[in-house]
Symmetry: C2
Subunit: 97 residues, 2 copies
């Protein structure tokens, strides 16, 4: 049985492919696929304006798609945020939209 | 209840702190803490020579410690490897030591 950390990494991979395979290049997230992933998998994090800014930041080659490497960098940034929150040990609630 | 992807990111954070708090700077992994984390959380991945190379690669400022950002970069690299394996859909088994 895989360890929790291994399962976590596997979840990051399978979650990407759950959405990337829906349309177009099955190894990249289109705008619609990324939006669906965020809405369903990271519901509290993103509103429309932030989504457009995020898509713009992630889509380095401006092909309106996000590849796995860009996706992992994005998750790494979120994890850094989680870590700060964890380190603070504060009871701060995530920002309400 | 947090979504699987959120839980995965939280696992990455809590796993780091499970080991980083044991000795020295509680927000950094010492050599011993990193080795224990790898042995217990990613058992199939690393042998001694690879561990020394890894520690050397991760420890950019040569303070013999790995901070959270370096840890997340490391996990991102492993996840990229998982993704290639997943994409191949091959039945290749991880290298036996």
């Amino acid at each position: 049985m895989a360890c929790p950390l291994e399962q976590a990494l596997a979840t990051m991979v399978t979650t990407f492919h759950k959405y990337s395979g829906k349309e177009g290049d099955k190894y990249k997230l289109s705008k619609a696929e990324l939006k669906e992933l965020l809405n369903k998998e990271l519901p509290k994090q993103m509103d429309e304006a932030e989504f457009r800014r995020l898509m713009n930041d992630l889509d380095h080659n401006k092909d309106s798609e996000v590849d796995f490497k860009e996706y992992v960098c994005f998750l790494a940034c979120i994890t850094m945020g989680f870590n700060e929150f964890f380190k603070d040990g504060s009871t701060k609630q995530p920002r309400k939209k």
